[in-house]
Symmetry: C2
DNA sequence: TAATATTATTAGGCATGACTAATTTATTTT
DNA sequence: AAAATAAATTAGTCATGCCTAATAATATTA
């Protein structure tokens, strides 16, 4: 059983939609993520249902079967490992790697991902701080505390980025914020949810609520 | 201007057919290489002709235009660099890497191949001894002496394999013959073109004419 | 040269996976 | 509850890139 590139992208989209929010995975949401027409999504969900990779219920939305989930996790695993490779070995910045990993994740060869994993030293998190699924499908623990929830005076550490858009990553790059960066919350402005934070000794900056809700910390 | 996966495979096939033999690149030869129906080949050649990547003449056969050649060389460059990566960094054997490189070569990103090249230390030859095109399209010198042409008593060095089929590469692996291996010609049997060769001190073996015509040496 | 075999070409079909447009079904809002 | 909006669905179309079958053109061999 082999999946086409399109099928893999649908499985991945459904996986992300169902893990990143508790809303049901609707036709609309999938069509938004993939920039495909809802009519196309319905067609593909029918196909994936027939292949027993997805179950679709008009009211509960789309759900991956165990088989579908396994495939989705493998794709995510490949994507994140390739991201580590691109950043650590080829020297890309973290805002440049997503689109390339998007292509590399579809390369099919049973043991390629295992060899890559070994070559990279079995990393647990990708450059954005997202957990890399193990080959058995297990996910390393993930943090879910937002920077916006940290109290004034406390210091935290950037564990992951919630928004992986190029524009946000480039902004982080400009601020020299990356996974592991220590952030101290100096002040919170109740009016608009913005915060004053200290990045390094003497380096303070003000960030918006949107920013503070896009960083995961521990 | 972007090529589809199929288009890239056709360009590569035409490149290989025209560089590996002086025969014209016929519809038939392309259809044999790609395992496609001749009718499909004609359709694609028409498309590539329209895109000014190929020129097709009923009598002279198919020929890449400058533009088509440039693209083909880039694909070959990517293929061979990925092969080096797979062998040197991920520890694959040389009979396992072709099919994976076949997929990796289609990953599109302008500077990925340049970064990979740098990461690998700017190799000039791939694991099969084939020259890796430079980014300007230049090819390192290639050897064209066959083992079968070496005189009795002389010693040569394996520079490349002419036949890159899995079955031949596995045979070489079994004999511990790889690029750089020294081979001394002990005897030649006129009857069937087979040869007795010495691989290492005390290790002699007899190989067929087919074998001796599949290894390039210098 | 005529017969045969090989190649090239055309025409028509098919699967995949996208699309639009029209319609039905659900969900909100008034 | 009725009206308005949003989402889901169906039907039909289209491009890509493959296929088969039939035919035409070239080469080869007797």
């Amino acid at each position: 059983m082999m999946q086409s590139l399109s099928e893999e992208n649908y499985l991945k989209a459904i996986y992300h939609l169902s893990s990143l929010s508790q809303n049901k995975v609707s036709i609309k949401s999938v069509s938004d993520v993939l920039n495909n027409n809802p009519a196309s999504v319905i067609g593909m969900l029918k196909k994936l249902t027939h292949k027993k990779l997805v179950q679709y219920d008009k009211f509960k939305g789309a759900k991956l079967t165990d088989k579908g989930l396994k495939i989705a996790l493998l794709i995510v695993r490949k994507h994140r490992l390739w991201e580590v490779f691109l950043l650590e070995k080829l020297g890309y910045n973290w805002d440049e790697i997503h689109d390339i990993a998007e292509q590399l994740e579809h390369v099919k060869q049973n043991d390629l991902v295992e060899r890559l994993d070994k070559f990279l030293g079995f990393p647990e998190y990708d450059p954005h701080g997202d957990p890399i699924p193990k080959s058995n499908g297990q996910l390393p623990a993930t943090v879910s505390n937002l920077l916006s929830g940290i109290e004034v005076g406390k210091t935290c550490r950037v564990a992951a980025v919630k928004d992986t858009s190029t524009i946000f990553l480039q902004y982080l790059l400009k601020l020299s914020v990356s996974i592991g960066t220590k952030i101290k919350v100096i002040d919170k402005i109740a009016f608009d949810g913005s915060m004053k934070i200290q990045l390094r000794k003497g380096v303070e900056t003000i960030v918006s609520q949107k920013f503070a809700e896009s960083l995961l910390v521990d």
